[in-house]
Symmetry: C2
Subunit: 121 residues, 2 copies
């Protein structure tokens, strides 16, 4: 089929590593990426772009410098560009992210978690 549906659960079943986003779709110059997360990520911001998180399964928090947003499956949030944030998940959480192709996962923070090349899955 030339235009095939993408099944989130099927894609999540293909990998187990955490904090390791995979691209599942491209719309114009934006990527749709999935990731399994658990624990605390690094504080960072994306100076050039907003970023969308959609929770597919589980629960997560996004810490901001002045508040914390709690998200569960069936919820999304837009992190505005330039706003420092830190994703956190007590238990493993499956998320979908939408952001421009080439956006670094650690934004302006860099460090060990940085993925220079995000693979398709």
């Amino acid at each position: 089929m030339p235009y095939a549906p993408i099944n989130f659960n099927e894609k999540f079943s293909l990998f187990s590593e955490q904090w390791s986003p995979k691209i599942i779709a491209q719309m114009n110059d934006y990527h749709f990426k999935i990731a399994k997360i658990q624990g605390e990520f690094v504080w960072h911001s994306h100076p050039e772009t907003d970023e969308v998180f959609i929770v597919i399964d589980g629960e997560m928090e996004i810490a901001f410098r002045d508040s914390v947003a709690a998200l569960k499956a069936g919820e999304m949030i837009v992190v505005p560009k330039g706003v420092e944030h830190k994703p956190i998940a007590a238990q493993e959480c499956q998320i979908l992210m939408v952001e421009p192709a080439g956006t670094l996962n650690t934004g302006d923070a860099g460090g060990d978690h940085t993925l220079e090349a995000v693979p398709w899955i």
Copy 2:
């Protein structure tokens, strides 16, 4: 809270009309829109942009001129720009769409279904 989660079910509970998209979020110059659909939409294409459909609840089909893609909750599809398509849902289906702000729901087709101004909800 300055950065609040958006709950899909909560947003869907706020309206009942079909084929009447509502904006729930903006990321850069893209809108995230939800809609309840049932029946057949019109054949149309978007000459300037790809379009993403994510099924939140229920099942739908997207007819292309040479194939049909069947989608259910937990699945997404990218309709490439310029490609004619027709959304179809036998039973009411709840969907999330991602496309550039200002994209017309009927694309190049126009007609009675066209919404010039999509409201926020």
